[in-house]
Amino acid sequence: MSQSAGRTVVYAARRIHTMDPSRPQGTHVAVRDGRVLGVGTLETLRGWGDFEIDDRFAAKVLLPGFVEGHSHVGEGTYWRYVYCGYFDRTDPDGRVWPGARSIEAVVARLREAHETLVDPKAPLFGWGLDPLFFGARRMTRHDLDAVSPERPIGVLHASGHITNASTAALALAGYLRTDHDHPGIPLDDARLPMGELRGPEAMMPVLFRLGVDRAAMSGDEAGLRAFAKLAVRTGTTTATDLATPIPDDAIESLLRVTGEDGFPLRFVPAMHVRGHTPQGAVERALGLKARSTDRLRLGRIKAHADGSIQGFTARMRWPGYHNGAPQGLWYIEPETLRALFALGLEHGIQIHTHTNGDAAIDLAIESLETALRAHPSPDHRFVLQHCQLADSAQLRRMKALGLCANFFANHHFYWGDAHHDQTVGPDRAERMNPCRSAQDIGVPYTIHSDAPVTPLGPLHVAWCAVNRRTASGRLLGAHERIPVADALRAITLGAAWTLHLDGEIGSIECGKRADFAVLEDDPFEVAPEALKDVGVWGTVHGGRIFAAGAA
């Protein structure tokens, strides 16, 4: 797997797309010491001296390894639970789990898992549920009781914001009572919880009793390894975990796992500011940054300015939500965000800020404007994560301030219809995640999956940004579509830029890391509608070869 030092290997390919405009394509790439020596034809590479030719990719198409700028290790850990999603999804070992397309199908899927459990009272947990696609009917505790009346069962929704619980699970958490007075616990005719628990607070006591360890779900060794396997399957060579507390005792394990010879990913975890003062967070990030290795890039901070659009907690400007819901919540005090920005600029620590609603985007823009006056930093590359409801005026201010955007392109496909009909209405749904406007205005941007909220898969994300089709087939916001070439740039160089890594990765270029996505087809040649279906053979990471099938 690893290449001996100083040896040169030239890989022949059907085609190599470099993302380097001065040498956009080639048929051969020379690799030495895990880096790219050159790309072109066999003839142009001969000058580098002795080499060994490797033909295994002769029928494949190479692109720079994909970079996922906003994902979570939960994409790997969730697979230890039962997948209950509506769409087909591939697990880390390559098994494709067919979508469960009705409540009955979800129940059947859970029953299969139930029958493999020996202890009749052992909890059962599923994830990925999206009842939005089941029409008006909502899943109740009685539906889950059909799997087994005595087994406590919980199913987390795809959004991560709602959990369905069985009667036994509700009883286990002490929820089976008639005096609930919580907006997140809808009741049935008997004044008992109907089985849907909305929002992290209402869900948590049940998840806790089911033994679902949210900390473990957000990443442990096994989860990180599974996540890395999924990265190989999707052509991803660099991925973020945005965000994690990165406790002290996790650092050694992160260094060990990412340092293993067979670890196929450059892993970029951002530390969450929660639990720290701005000063404490920046100091800790500086300490972490110093421990970075090639495959573990530490020293970034994540903050949440607001919540989610579909949870109606994203912070909205006038006129707010389309259905009249209140204007959302702040998850940080403006003073704290300003202090964090100022300290981040002062010490060169990059801040990624979760902003979904347009008011949250305003706050981040104004906070950075103030902080930049005190600490002018021409290349800070602070990123507004999701940034879904930015309007053009906000994009122009972002451009002026050097703010990057990481748009949640997958939202169109999964929740675009809900955004159009319920959350923000047609006007704003059509311009959500404005890739085209950002590009025209000159805001550096990338696009992301927020895995496990939606599946890890940069080509799928690119497909979403190119086509802007919703799950129902609606074209939502034709104007904001981007060409295939721009979408592919967004998931390579674009994402690398937002991580300050564009000098190392994001293109196949002399001196850069030999990180390639190895594809079965040429994404520049297939129909734009088929972009998501381009096969992925695997990856090359720092010159090491990883076949998806063998991962």
């Binding site: 958490a173 002490g174 929820y175 007075d181 919580h182 907006p183 616990i185 992290p200 607070e201 209402a202 948590m204 006591p205 806790f208 949210r214 507390p245 969450h272 500011v273 929660r274 639990g275 720290h276 003062t277 701005p278 404490g280 967070a281 949440h304 204007q327 919540l329 702040w330 998850y331 940080i332 005090e333 403006p334 003073e335 704290t336 008011a359 706050l363």
Partner: protein
């Protein structure tokens, strides 16, 4: 059920100062301070005795620990981290909605939300309430308060203070308001009678229906009274009677027996009164225990005679127990 008090209010209002005050006046109560904020643990250094992992051991058997973004998970994991306290005090972040935090507390087995205390900076609260970013958040915090500690009143004049109270009566209609300087509020007002370190009551003498007495004359602005109730009472009627702003009550808690001898817990925080069945197996449900009410109110406003009249308990002696 472990009484849990939520302390909310915007950044800089004096939440941490208030928490330190309460810790200093704990009087033997073991308080667990749970900080649900951006990492700033502002416990006064002289109160910290030792550190046990991420739990601070404080003077008098109190503790302080932070919970991350997941408040409910943090509260559920609390028994693994600390010995059972007498009362939990949650200090929220400046943008938290304390009503939502209290609702979340009620979802945690073993915890009962026992009041929302909101601290407001008398000098800046009007400006905050009009702030384009957080104005609506601040107003909602005020609207959710049972007890509103109007802090730093020394920074504004009497006329401004009067105007502020008039405004707050509108913005925070269900709160009992307390003026304070340096968040100097008696711990009992914050923690409630539930967790009050009560001196033993005198033995009941035959034929006496009720006694009341001043328990803590040294509370400064506040006084506390204990009323022993021997006869049957309608708990709902009692609750309605207590929810009258004219009584000047800040907090009340007690056990009463209805006509069938069933014990009920009656709790008031500000103007919010709750009646719940006394949990079986607890002292409150013990048929041999005397039923009593502990009342905390503003000195001079808490009128024993008025309360007795409201409760329909006329003509009883009120021995001074100071």
């Amino acid at each position: 059920m472990l009484p849990t008090v939520v302390v909310g209010g915007y950044l800089g209002a004096g939440k941490t100062t208030l928490v330190n005050r309460v810790l200093r006046g704990a009087g033997g109560r073991r308080i667990a301070v749970v900080v649900n904020d951006f990492g700033e643990i502002g416990i006064d250094a002289d109160l910290i005795e030792s550190r046990d992992g991420d739990v601070l051991n404080l003077a008098g058997g109190c503790v302080c620990c932070a919970v991350g973004s997941d408040l409910v998970a943090g509260l559920m994991a609390l028994p693994e981290r600390i010995a059972p306290p007498d009362v939990v005090l949650i200090e929220t972040s400046g943008v938290a909605l304390p009503g939502a935090v209290a609702r979340a507390v009620r979802l945690v087995p073993g915890l009962d939300a026992d009041g929302i205390v909101v601290v407001a900076d008398a000098e800046t609260i009007r400006t905050r309430a009009d702030d384009p970013w957080v104005g609506d958040t601040v107003r909602q915090q005020l609207a959710e308060a049972d007890l509103l500690v109007l802090n730093k009143t020394d920074l504004i004049g009497a006329q401004a203070l009067g105007a502020l109270h008039a405004w707050l009566a509108d913005v925070a209609p269900r709160a009992v308001r307390i003026d304070a300087v340096d968040a100097d509020v008696p711990p009992d007002a914050v923690l409630g009678a539930a967790a009050a370190a009560q001196p033993p009551l005198p033995p009941l003498s035959a034929g006496r229906a009720m006694r009341s007495g001043v328990l803590r004359p040294a509370l400064g602005l506040f006084e506390s009274r204990s009323i022993v109730l021997d006869g049957a009472l309608d708990p709902q009627a009692l609750a309605r009677a207590l929810a009258d702003p004219a009584l000047g009550l800040v907090r009340a808690k007690g056990v009463v027996r209805d006509g069938d001898g069933v014990p009920w817990v009656v709790q008031a925080v500000g103007l919010r009164v709750r009646v719940t069945p006394a949990p079986p197996g607890t002292p409150a449900a013990d048929p041999a225990a005397s039923a009593r009410l502990v009342l905390i109110g503003l000195r001079g406003t808490l009128d024993a005679g008025m309360i007795e009249a409201r409760l329909g308990l006329h003509g009883a002696a009120a021995p001074d127990r100071s």
